[in-house]
Structure formats: structure tokens, C-alpha cells
């Protein structure tokens, strides 16, 4: 027993101060892509073919970028000769609509809070039922980590529950494999209305690296109405947490 107390003292208090203070991410962290149209050269297009998920397209006079497809691999940054495309260490990326993830130079429109009625229902207590439908266990792992002492999402009234009947929202990971489609639909139906759907990760938003393959459905948007999109491959736990807190209007600014 003495050992347990000694270890407790040794392990200290580890819950991060977010959202009160800004977290420090590693210098090589590949967050939100920043695009500087002024530096983008006409007829260059070097970034377009190297993108593994074709997330970059021509958009006169420059390019358009789909954060929902982006794997944050850094291939475009490496290919860009002028530094017009760069990964920043910005981790805040969640949006309310699919369209908001399409960027062509304008600032990202971060997720707005829920409408008044929904906010009243879920603002102080949000119960999540996570469904992995072809997720590779990276998105799942970095959602799981939110329940550890480091992030401790329960302090915001957010929790993961076992039964869909106890849930307010379905948190989807994975591209939605055909073999999980029915189980996903049944789980969604089992959640009492009103309910939310959150798509976390490139797979759940667009199919990610598996987009277009016949065994999957390019994410959840074709099957369910999605209320929050969280980009990343996988999204950093802070990206998920920030998105959830924005949705619940728990952040200032």
C-alpha cells in the first residue's frame, strides 16, 4: 500500500490546462495547411499530382484544398517550390459542414456552436457512442486517449458510453466498410433523437487512403447527416477535443 502512495506522489498531477492555455505541439507536427496565394506560381501545379488522396485541385488563380481528404503527409509541402503550401502547427481544424473544409486561401471557418435548442440539451453533458467502421485503430486510439488523465474529457461533461441507447451522439471513425454499414445504421437508429453525428478522421470524412475502393463507402456523409467534421489522419486528440468543445460552445473565441 505504501508503494501505491509513493507512486501516486511520484506520478504527479498530469491533466493539461487546455483550453485555458495553449498547448505546445512538436515543431514537426503537421497541422492545418496554410496556403499563401501570393507565393503560388502560375502553371506550377507541382503539389497536385503528389497528393495521395487528390485533395488539391486547380482553382484559378491558384489551388483549392480539401482538408477532409488531407492525410497531413507533407507531400505537397515537400513538392511546393516556393513555400506557398506549408503545414502549420495549428491543431484547431474541426468544422460544421463539409464545404467549410474546402479552402482556397481564405481562413478556415472553425465549427460554430450548436443551435440554441441542441446546445441546451447537450451543452453540459454529451454522451458519445463511438463506432469504428473500418478505422485503423489510430483514430480510435486517439479518441480513447481523451479519457485518460491527460485530457480528462469528463471534466467537460463529455463521456464515452457503451450503449447507443445512452448516447447523444455517434462518433464515427473509418471509411465505413460495406461489412460495417448495417451495424453502423443499426447503432445510429438505436440512439434516441435528437442526436448528433461526428465524423473523425480523413476516412470517416472522405474515405481517406481508401477512398474509391469498392469495399467501403467513402466515409459516413453518404449515409448519415454529419454535424461535426474533424480532419486528420488521425486527428490529434486536441483537434478532437477542440472540435467537441466548439460544438458545445465551451470555448471563448
Amino acid at each position: 500500500m505504501f508503494n501505491v502512495f509513493r507512486a501516486r506522489i511520484h506520478q504527479k498531477h498530469r491533466t493539461i490546462d487546455f483550453p485555458k492555455s495553449a498547448p505546445v505541439l512538436p515543431d514537426r507536427f503537421r497541422g492545418l495547411l496554410s496556403y499563401d496565394a501570393a507565393l503560388c506560381q502560375a502553371e506550377c501545379e507541382a503539389c497536385i499530382p503528389v497528393c495521395p488522396t487528390d485533395a488539391i485541385d486547380l482553382h484559378e488563380p491558384g489551388i483549392a484544398l480539401d482538408l477532409g481528404k488531407c492525410l497531413f503527409c507533407g507531400a505537397c509541402e515537400a513538392a511546393c517550390p516556393t513555400g506557398a503550401l506549408r503545414h502549420s502547427t495549428e491543431f484547431r481544424m474541426a468544422t460544421r459542414t463539409r464545404e467549410d473544409l474546402l479552402l482556397s486561401g481564405e481562413p478556415l471557418k472553425l465549427a460554430q456552436a450548436l443551435e440554441a435548442k441542441a446546445k441546451k440539451l447537450f451543452g453540459r453533458s454529451l454522451r458519445l457512442r463511438v463506432v469504428s467502421a473500418g478505422g485503423c485503430n489510430a483514430c480510435e486510439a486517439d479518441i480513447n486517449v481523451l479519457s485518460t488523465v491527460v485530457f480528462d474529457i469528463a471534466r467537460f461533461g463529455i463521456d464515452v458510453v457503451a450503449s447507443p441507447r445512452h448516447a447523444d451522439a455517434l462518433l464515427l471513425t473509418g471509411p465505413v466498410t460495406e461489412n460495417m454499414r448495417l451495424a453502423l445504421e443499426k447503432t445510429y437508429e438505436a440512439i434516441p433523437a435528437p442526436k448528433l453525428v461526428i465524423a473523425s478522421g480523413a476516412c470517416a470524412i472522405s474515405g481517406g487512403p481508401f477512398a474509391g475502393l469498392p469495399e467501403q463507402h467513402d466515409g459516413g456523409a453518404g449515409l448519415l447527416k454529419v454535424d461535426l467534421y474533424i480532419p486528420g489522419c488521425p486527428p490529434h486528440p486536441l483537434t478532437v477535443l477542440d472540435g467537441l468543445l466548439r460544438l458545445l460552445d465551451r470555448l471563448d473565441g
Binding site: 503527409c73 463506432v131 480510435e140 466498410t177 487512403p209
Partner: protein
Amino acid sequence: MRTSAVLVSLDRAPLLTVTPLQATPLASIPRLPWEEVRGAIHEVVASGGRILALFGHVFEGQERPDLLVVLGGLHPGQLLLGRAVLDDDRFLSLTLDCEEAHLFEREIAEQFQVVLMGHPWLKPVRFAPPWRTGQAAWPLPETGAPVPGSGDFYKVEGEEIHEVAVGPVHAGVIEPGHFRFQCYGELVFHLEIVLGYQHRGVEAAILGGPHKRTLHQLETVAGDTTIGHATAYCQALEALAGVTISERAEYLRAAALELERLANHTGDLGALAGDVAFLPTASYCGRLRGDFLNLSAVLCGSRFGRGLVVPGGVAFDADAERVKTMTERLDAAMVDLRSAVSLLWDNSGVIARFDGTGAVAKDVARKIGLVGVAARACGLERDVRASYPTPVWRTLGIQPCVEEQGDVWSRAHVRWNEAKQSGPLVRNLLQSLPTGPVRQPMAPLAADALTVSLVEGWRGEICHVALTDGQGALQRYKIVDPSFHNWMGLQMALRNQQISDFPLCNKSFNLSYCGHDL
């Protein structure tokens, strides 16, 4: 083990002796009738060898698939390759004589519509549409693929027997799978696990590649094993291209692989503690797992090592300053890990729950072909880093961590010993990085060749087999995740256990669903 005279005769024919990462011309592998290859596989396995991969491929111009087999475990560093011709869609199952072939054969039946006669449990593996039209081993609906989870289940009958069905959606934040228990009261007579829900079609997507997406699909075969699978893939391409990566790149890959092991073993030890309601270790390890993941992010920006391992080497270098930061943080985390995990071993409540729970006997483990942590916990010294070392592992000289009981305690203790081994390994590797570049230019892949790439991932042996066509494109890419071998181990572990011990047993294996389903 048989006498060496028998083994020498095996080397002659019908199997070809090769080493991992050797680009072997396809034409040099003897192409013989299945009966002959089947006999040779049986003999190798009976002599102490094992099946690393057994799979089909329809070569151009052929009507039926040839079966390719990779065997190992006889002579250190050596593999045996075989290639069998099928003259009919129905042929004799190998599983009858060699249990570890059972899932490989089910996969072959599913992908190529062939019937393995005498197979004791021929049913779908992934509930996926077939790759070829032949003789279906089970009825197929009009949609082309059986409904996931459908079909026969192993059944125990009797008045007081009841069946418990769980999944595919489980209670936690976890991947989907279906578990069917045959119970007598609380006692589990048998557990059957049905997977396939995570099937994304990775192997088919690679065909004709490498494509620009292939590396990313390999990184996410099992996303918690990004370094393991990406390394296996890149090694295979480099072997086929005749490219030797720099020592520095090899050291950085090895350091990342051990960090991945450290993070996952830490997470598993915490989760095991959580499953027996011992919260101190569960909480501390939950945090520490993240600290190790964050070390990967210091190296390459990603907590899961995304983007680090690339064909030709690694995409990120570590200068002295970065090595210093990483080492300091690693040292601090290792001290905390010791404080957190040592609580487990002197808590009688924890030991009472771990000890003797979910035991798999050594001979059963050998028969069903377990690998990795699960195998070493049963006393089997199976570790790619020791038996098939790449140069860096030859230099480091790993002693596999082995326990004898095969139970939850052994699987936990193997993880703890390996974590204690991996910490200093990462430190040594980073401290002794050889000078030089970290990335070599790649070259075209050799045409009509095959190579076997092995990596000891944190769950166990990752085996990739790459075959190129006449143009040097990948005509077949076989992925064997350690979980493919080990799910049967969990089923065996549950026999005669309380059903309430299932979560603990499951966590002690912690297998990959998507790595199995591909």
C-alpha cells in the same frame, strides 16, 4: 526436431531456400503439384518449422491460382519457398495434418473460390467477394459476398448450454468483431471469433502498384503498427529495387519500431490493470503511453509515426539537439513507467486475477502457429529480431523475452520485460546514430521477382510477400499481420474460463481487427 539429414533433403526440392529480403526470380522457385508441396510443408512443420505465409495468386494466362508458401523456423536466418500448381478447383486440405494452415486455407478458398477438401471448418474469413470465379466453397448471395457474421458457428448442444453473442459493435472504443461463446453457466466451453467487418480491400488496392496511395494504405493496415507495416513494405520495395538504405536510416527505423513497441506495451499494461480494476497503473500508463507516442511526434510530427518510414530510408533525421530532447524525455518516462508498472507485480489482487487466467499450452501454441508476445508467453522463442535479423538487429543482438505459463500473467510480463528492453534500445540507437544521409534514391523494382520481408512488430511477426510482374509492378502483395496467426490463440485461451474473464483475456492478446481483415 528430426535429424539434420532430413532437413538437408528438404532443402533440395520441392522447396527453395532463401533469406528474407532476397530478390528471388520467380522462375527459380520449383513449380510442382500441390500434393508434393503439401507433403513438403507437412514435413517441415513436423520437423519444427512453421508457416509464415500461404496464399494464392492467379498468374497471367492461368485459369487457377498457384499456391505460394513461405516457411521458416528451421535454420536461423533461412526461409523456404514453395509454389504449387492446382489442376482442379478441389484439392486436399493441408489443415488435416497441419493446424496452423487452417486460416490461410480459408482465405484461399474465399479469395479464389476453391474447395479445400477435408478442411474441418471451411467458412469465410472476411465475408468479401471472391477475386475469381471457380467453385464456391459456400453459397453466395446475389450481392456477391456472404452477409458478415452469417454461416455456421461451432455449437455445443445440451439442455443447460447457452450461447452468448457479442458484437460487431462492442462496449468500448474498439474495432468491430463478432464473438460467439458456448457456455455452461459461467463457464466457456468454446469461443468462436468471426471477423471481416473491417475489410477495406487493401491487398487488392496494391495490385499494379506501388501507387501513390500504397504507402499510406500500408501505414494504416493496422494504424497502431504504422512503423511495423511501413517498414516491412519499404524493406520489400528496397530489396526488389536493389537499394541498400543507410545505416543511419536503419537505426532511426529501429528506434521508431521500439518506440512503437514501448507505447503499445505501456498502453496494454495499463489496460490490463484497468480490466482488473487496479486504477493506479491504469491511469499512469494511460498518460505514459501518450508520452511515448509524443516522442514519435518529436521525431516525425506524428504520434503514430506517419510519414517517417519511406522507400529508401526515413523522411526525417534527428540532429544532436533532437536526440538530446528525445533521450531526456525518454529517460523521464522510463522512470515513471517503472514506478507505474512495478505496482502490478506486488499487488496480490492483480496477481490473483492474472495468474492462471486464459492459459494456452505450449504445444497448442505451436500447433496453431502463434507469434509475437502471445507465443513468447507460452515459452516459444519466436522473435524476428533474433531469428531473422536485419544488420542493425544483428549488431544489437536481441534476447527474446520468454515466459512459460501462457496465461494473462505471462503475456503481461513479456510486455513488461520487452518494455524494459525497448527503452534502453531506443536510447542506444539514438545515441549511436551512424553518420550519413537518411534517404537513398529508389530504383525500379526487379521484374518477375519475389521477396519476403519480416519485421517484429509490437504484436509479433509481420510478414509481407511482394511479387512483381514482367514490368516490375506489384502483381501480388501478401500481408500477414501477427493477428492473423493469433486470433485462434484467444479462442483457445477462453476454453474452460469464466465468461467474465473474456475482457481480460482479450486485452492480454490485444489483437488487430483491421490488420486481420485487411
